[in-house]
């Protein structure tokens, strides 16, 4: 085999190959190296050597996988970005000071002056950590929340906030007033809600109260009778029939069960009347407290029933009252406690937000915390949220505001939504990159398969190579037959791979369903991801670079066999058996 390497052609073969690789065409008087035979033979080899096609199946699979993975990852990223961006406004001017920004209007004016036309919407927000308490099945539950005071008239102008509310009326305009019913009509689990639910609960509570009252009176009466009985007994007369008739009833429907039932309805918690003013008794069946919109994750859990059906279970419903404790603006801050009526849920499908966000009217919070200046009629805020007009550069707007409010001179920070979510987005980006590297390694492995197959084909074609050389084909021409063969195989492989990948992405949810049916396991679990379907985004650029990469690998893999073919000694090749 060693003799097949023509020592005398060595000096030219490198030149030839370099010329081929960089696309320079050496023009000589005698030899015109670009011949039709290369195309013809390339094509014939492709048609007659199916084994080579088998070697590029791995390229096809690699390309298809790359496209599927990239579109799903891009789909996730863009969904997540959409949601985050929907929740967070473009720019936030915020402070960590307990008493917030005392003169928000002055800031808003400066922001508008600085950014001019590019401000699309602006709103003020008070954000603070808080603790919420609610009663469920007789137990008090506490939960840490992010209490957000919003200006309901402008808040929706900086984010997609209202889109995520459940009640159709609130989706149009939130007013923090409990609706009669009709929360999320498509959710059966949420159906008893709103005023209907609240008044029914109150009615039950009242009935129980009445019943309890009646029972106490009865007990008092019994006790009185027993006293009388004892008095009579002491007088020697015994009549125990009345006693026995009442006693079992007292044990079965007595004090303890009744009290447990009233706990279930949150009865004792609501009893203290706090903000109904004027000494009037608060009637919970017709009156509500200040409205609060809870993240849906605070008030519910999502799970599966025995049939495997997705099911939400709500421990809090619109119409329930909850108690929220939060610090006031004083120094040192003191915890204050407020009662709120849940008026709606907020479902952004970002579990991080859905499990902690609770929205209340900003003035209520300002007043409760002592952030309201009665003279200027201005409330302090903790952050000013800005929505930028379409096409405004986020970073340059942020930098311009940072210029306006330098951190050294003011107590506010300016951040964009990307800054806030930077680590998460970066993590997803890193994941995508690693997946791409790994999958390209798969294609590189496929490249070695092509290399081996091509070496075999070159060996198999040794005599034909000798014949071509004896007919005057230059080494470069023979090299380009095999290089062209590699390009052709790589193109076919990546082309089929692109088509397969696109088809897979197009029908990914159907495929997931079929896989679920076959394996009996959830492929894409909505309890984990909050998406009902697998989100996909296809970037044309991804397809282009994936196919170019695959073809390049196929070409690289065919370079060595091509060099070998080009360097074969014609006499040795002709003698090869």
């Amino acid at each position: 085999m060693g003799m097949l390497w023509h020592p005398m052609d060595q000096e030219c073969y490198f030149r030839i190959l370099v010329d081929k690789l960089i696309g320079r065409h050496r023009r000589t008087v005698h030899a015109k190296e670009r011949g039709m035979y290369k195309v013809l033979l390339c094509w014939r080899y492709l048609k007659t050597r199916w084994i080579a096609l088998a070697s590029i199946v791995s390229v096809t699979l690699g390309v298809a996988t790359l496209i599927v993975v990239n579109s799903v990852m891009d789909g996730f990223t863009s969904q997540m970005q959409d949601r985050m961006h929907g929740i967070l406004s473009d720019l936030v001017v915020e402070t960590r000071a307990t008493n917030g920004i005392a003169e928000p209007n002055w800031y808003i004016e400066r922001i508008r002056a600085r950014l001019g036309e590019s401000v699309d919407g602006i709103t003020t927000v008070v954000t603070l950590p808080a603790m919420m308490t609610f009663h469920h099945n007789g137990n008090a539950h506490t939960q840490q929340i992010n209490l957000i005071g919003i200006d309901q008239s402008t808040y929706a102008s900086v984010s997609d906030f209202s889109k995520y509310l459940l009640h159709p009326d609130n989706k149009r305009q939130l007013d923090f007033i409990l609706k009669r019913n009709g929360y999320a009509p498509d959710r059966e689990a949420l159906q008893p809600s709103g005023w209907e639910y609240r008044s029914r609960v109150e009615q039950l509570k009242k009935d129980r109260q009445t019943e309890l009252e009646r029972y106490r009176q009865l007990q008092a009466k019994i006790a009185e009778e027993q006293q009388n009985q004892i008095a009579k007994d002491s007088q020697g007369l015994s009549d125990s029939t009345a006693d026995q008739a009442i006693d079992p009833k007292a044990n079965e429907n007595g004090t303890q069960p009744l009290e447990a039932n009233s706990d279930l309805l949150g009865g004792p918690m609501i009893q203290p009347v706090q903000n109904s003013g004027g000494g009037r008794v608060f009637d919970a069946s017709i009156e509500q407290r200040i409205g609060i919109v809870l993240g849906i994750g605070i008030g519910s859990v999502r799970g599966r029933d025995s049939d495997g059906q997705l099911k939400d279970y709500f421990f809090i419903r619109p119409g329930d009252d909850v108690s929220v404790a939060f610090p006031n603006a004083g120094s040192p801050p003191r915890a204050i406690d407020e009662l709120f009526t849940v008026v709606d849920f907020y479902e952004s499908k970002m579990s991080e937000y859905d499990a902690t966000f609770a929205f209340v009217p900003i003035e209520a919070l300002q007043r409760a915390r002592g952030m309201f200046d009665p003279l200027s009629k201005q409330g302090a805020v903790t952050s000013i949220q800005i929505k930028l007009a379409r096409g405004t550069d986020l970073n340059s707007a942020r930098d311009s505001l940072r210029d306006e409010f330098p951190p050294s001179e003011s107590y506010v920070q300016v951040n964009s939504w990307r800054d806030t979510q930077g680590p998460l987005l970066a993590a997803v980006q890193l994941e995508t990159t690693i997946l791409n590297v790994l999958l390209f390694m798969i294609i590189a492995v496929a490249g070695f398969g092509i290399l081996a197959t091509f070496f075999m084909i070159v060996v198999e074609k040794t005599r034909d190579i000798g014949v071509l050389k004896s007919l005057g084909a230059p080494g470069s021409g023979i090299a380009s037959i095999f290089l062209g063969y590699g390009v052709l195989l790589g193109s076919v492989g990546s082309g089929v791979g692109v088509l397969c990948g696109l088809a897979f992405v197009w029908k990914i949810n159907e495929i997931a369903r079929v896989l679920e049916w076959i394996t009996g396991r959830e492929v894409f679990d909505p309890t984990v991801y909050y998406f009902d379907t697998i989100p996909t985004v296809i970037h044309p650029f991804t397809i282009v670079w994936v196919s170019i990469g695959a073809v390049l690998i196929a070409i690289l893999a065919s370079v060595l066999p091509s060099i070998r073919a080009a360097r074969m000694h014609p006499v040795e090749a002709l003698r090869y058996e």
Binding site: D9, R26, H30, A31, G35, M36, R44, D464, S470
Partner: protein, 279 residues
Amino acid sequence: MNNSIPAKSLAKPTSTAANQLRVVRPEADNESGHSKQTHTTVPQSFSRESMVDARAVTKSYRRHKTSVAVLKGVDFSAEQGKMTAIVGQSGSGKSTLLHLLGTLDRPDSGEIHFANQRIDNLPARKRDAFRNHQLGMIFQFYHLLPELTLLENVIAPAMIGQSILSYFRNRSSIMKRAKELAELVGLSHRLHHKPSQLSGGEMQRTAIARALITDPKLLLADEPTGNLDQESGQSILQLLRNLNQESGLTIVMVTHDENIAMQCDALVRLKGGKVERLK
């Protein structure tokens, strides 16, 4: 390495001592680049033009670290328009000489001239072009390309010699010529058959047609009848004879069939790495 003969020392004695077909011009060794000039000025010692000649050619093959000298200073010439046969035993270097004449290999020393122009030291590109344009070759085992049809095999050299553009420009004339050649070798009815569907004689005829497509001046045949039965071999020989006589094609043929060799115009024998002229 011990039994390989130093090329230079051997070149002169052989060229002068042996009773050769022609005398090698001494200038050729020194001024190989200007052989054309010498050709016009120096009087020839023989009347006819030489088409291809080997001058003091040596060639050895290395096998298992020992060098086997196959050609030990060969002077050979094939006259234009003649049919020359090279005979010799197996391993005597017939095919090696033919390969050297066809620039498929390069001699260790000595020169190969074609139409009085040195060709063995041409760059690879020019040798490729020479093979394509000036030379036709046929082989004992035909060496057709199995993926191509008869017609495609015949036009393969034309495709190799031209760019795709000029191929398509001249396609009709190439096709016409290929069909004429197929007609000439009596295979016009099998144009679209693959080599595997052809008999040995048919494959050799195809190889001849392929060798002729570029209108070469010289045809090198390496035992063209060696793998054929008597009848097919004879008809191939007849075909070559006709080509030689009708279009004046110079043919150099390697054979070990004395019978066939005797029908040629000139006959040399390779023995012990040297050439003996028999006819």
